[in-house]
Symmetry: D2
Subunit: 313 residues, 4 copies
């Protein structure tokens, strides 16, 4: 199979693109994410037809946040869209006349990085996406591991603090409350409140208040050496690295690929993550260490990965 179409459903926009066998995006389009489940299906179909009309694309891969069943056809539960047991594959196939594969968006992104990004040369890869929350994907022996019910790799909801912070999932102490972009902002706000004199750059970038601090402000301020911003990244890195050490005990990959907005800062973030990873890696002296790599495809990973999964059928 040559060309396929990848679709990435985000909270605010849906992106579709024609992708070739080398993972290159040939054509792309975006539409806003409609508020209703039906609207989303129509928007997906519209986006697919838009990019696919002039191409020889033969299949569609859709990456969606949520639990996707093991037939890769139905979204059991989505956090952002009001889908409950939504038969997405069937509905889109009826509209676009091509075979459709549905995959969890983090899995799709992991597959994209594994095939065309940072994963080159590795067959046992754990992808961790540090975005607003934390997503993940598991590649073992060159295959995407989805779990029995299609919902493996929910790294963000591993409990890292007993009796810890409440999470939107209903549990407490989930990793994504400590190592995601949202956690980074919380660290920065708490610290800027306590010691505003050490956060002058950071506060200057927002509206001057701790509550006005956004993730982009923390990144920009850290690059300029703002003490609170740097400390906030360091705190995030402690949790991120400790979590990777746990994942190493569980999966023993040859590489971690770290993506998501938090990782856009590259080694500014990844170096302290690596340090924390090494500190907490069990048996560090007696085993090869997994590499901690930055993702390479940015927000294209999901679209490219979904398209490639559709190619593989």
């Amino acid at each position: 199979m040559g060309l396929t179409i990848g679709v990435d459903i985000g909270g605010t926009k849906i992106a579709a693109g024609v992708v070739d066998e080398d993972g290159t995006i040939l054509d792309t389009c975006q539409v806003p994410t409609p508020p209703t489940p039906e609207g989303v299906v129509e928007a997906i179909a519209h986006a697919v037809r838009t990019v696919g009309s002039d191409s020889a694309a033969e299949a569609v891969g859709i990456g969606a946040a949520g639990y996707v069943d093991d037939k890769r056809a139905t979204v059991l539960f989505a956090p952002n869209i009001d889908w409950r047991r939504e038969a997405l594959k069937d509905k889109v196939e009826q509209r676009v006349g091509m075979p459709v594969v549905v995959e969890n968006d983090a899995n799709a992104a992991a597959w994209g990085e594994y095939r065309f990004g940072a994963g080159a040369g590795h067959d046992d890869v754990i992808c961790v996406t540090l975005g607003t929350g934390i997503g993940g994907g598991i590649i073992m022996g060159g295959r995407l591991y989805r779990g029995r019910f299609g919902v493996a790799g929910e790294f963000g909801h591993v409990r890292v603090v007993p009796d810890g912070l409440l999470c939107g999932c209903g549990s407490q102490g989930c990793w994504e409350q400590y190592a995601s972009g949202r956690a980074l902002v919380r660290y920065a706000r708490q610290r800027a409140t306590a010691t505003p004199e050490a956060a002058e750059v950071l506060l200057g970038l927002g509206d001057g208040t701790a509550e006005g601090i956004q993730g982009k402000h923390v990144s920009a301020a850290a690059r300029r050496g703002d003490k609170v911003a740097v400390d906030s990244f360091r705190e995030l890195a402690r949790w991120a690295g400790a979590g990777l050490a746990d994942l190493a005990s569980l999966f023993d990959p040859s590489a971690f690929i770290v993506g998501g907005g938090v990782s856009d800062e590259g080694d500014l973030v990844l170096d302290p993550v690596r340090k924390s990873f090494r500190r907490w890696l069990v048996g560090a002296r007696y085993r090869p260490h997994a590499q901690v790599l930055a993702a390479q495809l940015g927000n294209r990973a999901g679209l490219v990965g979904a398209a490639d999964l559709a190619r593989q059928g």
Copy 2:
């Protein structure tokens, strides 16, 4: 291949047995575990020759505590025997003249349960052994998953309490400090010290002091309704169930198989574990739940599993 020999290296004794294709042990022998690395190799060879001399066994599988490299030939590090990069496969092959496969003992036991025990009908199984420590094995899609460097499935050393109890591995807060047999004894001793009047049965089974309480006493006292013993099992179950919920987020298996001394009490332990598992399972309303099953093979699982892995080459 018909008959193979399984070897299980324990801290105090080494067991070898001839095993057929159905997982039945036809002949077996035990020798004490020698104190030196060389002695252990000789003892393994001796045990293999003892059970194998009259049989048609064609291969040997060895289960050993520690990190085993991805060629399943070398023990990188063992916690109980002074092995550092021990070429166990080569050394034993030279002595017994049969092909040898070395596997982590928890992996071997997991494989045994998957093939001939509680795992019947499941192809995505996580085995958790709650013994003195906690071991684990991962079966995904019907295959033993070993990780890139052969050291996956070290569930016992996932950090469940930041800044928690020191672990023999050098880290802190490892799961096995909270959900293993050793943890059970600690809970019982702490509680019996604080409220001895609620531990009369328990204290009566040992030497009358909290320090004299052993794991077997806690089990026996719990069966007789001793309050401290029951509470100690309940505390262990809270940690065990929460850990299984984390493993469900990561691996999404169709079943957990729980073995090890702690689980010998069956539903007395497993029912509270299941309750805690359900409490902490993320997305519980939107996904099928993995079953939590008791292991069936007891301490034969490692030997039988190692033999079967040797059969599969």
Copy 3:
């Protein structure tokens, strides 16, 4: 001084009462708590005039949630009313023509219990109020200890879980997130969600949903043996008792007096609290143990205590 007037400012109503030297309330009235700071001052004055008009009361003591300065005149900060550096003493004195003393409500309640309730015979008492949040009061050597800035005894905001639950105070892991009435409801809802079949009584008392569970339902269900309700009280008791053990390390009192809605259930709650206290009490074998007593005055403690503090000037 003979009669004085005590005022207790609650979130929904303001109570005033004339109190004699034995702590007996002779006359009382209640008015709703107005929404504005000015309204509250007027309502206090109105309530004081209502009960005081026919009496020989000579002074007024006011108990208010929040930080009260060391002159016992100004409320620096209140969590429920929009007071910032509110000169409550001056404003009320101007309106009622009697000397006024302002005290933190938990301190006032502690003083009431010490003088006329469970504290009889003890001069070193720590009062802990397990209500919606957790309040506290410190009596040392027969004197109310207020701290340098009048804000000692904020037991509810001691951090008991690093990186724990967010608290309304802006910090994380505060004790009141784990051992208050609000925590009790959270435990019950989480457990009823996970194992509804073990919460039939509890769910039947509310609207049938976990979200509909209120504190009074948990108490009623626990008395009827509902498993989830009993377990929820037990979880609360674990945290409460461990916190008392910490307070014993710090203050070494001869008695704890436990009040608040959670403690209305008496020994149903206090017995597990005592058990947990003993489990975590440091040096338990080498020191006398503080008693853990139930408060006796209920919600009259604050009013009576405030009145008595006004008497003492």
Copy 4:
């Protein structure tokens, strides 16, 4: 009363000194700490007679690690010497012919700092000694607060991590496991093991191994900018500052005096402690902040304080 003698019983040596009303030590002597309880009593008496023979000293104050009863006469329990209900006051009085007061060593040191050191101008002071363990002393309203049974101020054994590190006291997660000199060394060893290339100075000061690192090495390396040493102090400071914030919620002092070996580095340590204190101080915007001061008397505080307590009778 003019001159008195202070005695400080340490783990390795016993110091005695004649002290005047201004807290000046006029004469002093040291003897090794004997291994037996009886030997310690004799050594104390010998030291007292040595310094006191030519002086007009009229009373003796003894500071001893452990629980001291409320009559300040009997050591109920000592962690380092095998004392159980040791009638130290009587035994020493019989030997030296002067009135003797026994006080917990941390209380004595707190009193010394309050009277003649950093506490000048403060009447509500919390002293925290970050040494091998953590000791404490409470001065409220200008008086040493000892608790009902003489064992208040055991700050080091407040639980700051549920299910945390085992403590010699039998409990878990005690503050002194995270913010003492011993904790500092643990942090340094863990980090030097994980990232030896960032600990070159530190490792060079010891025997080259992580296990060889001592507290003095961490201090010296931190002054020279060693990354691991600096990070270790920072980790200690996080815990120390958070603990002070808790003590502020409880005691609301006007000042903290921080002493002990860890604080010898002065602002190198205290500045990050202050930062962490401010981060975690509850209600920081609505209350005056306690100062965090360095102790001034060093290891003389206990001797001077014990002497002054004897003067006061």
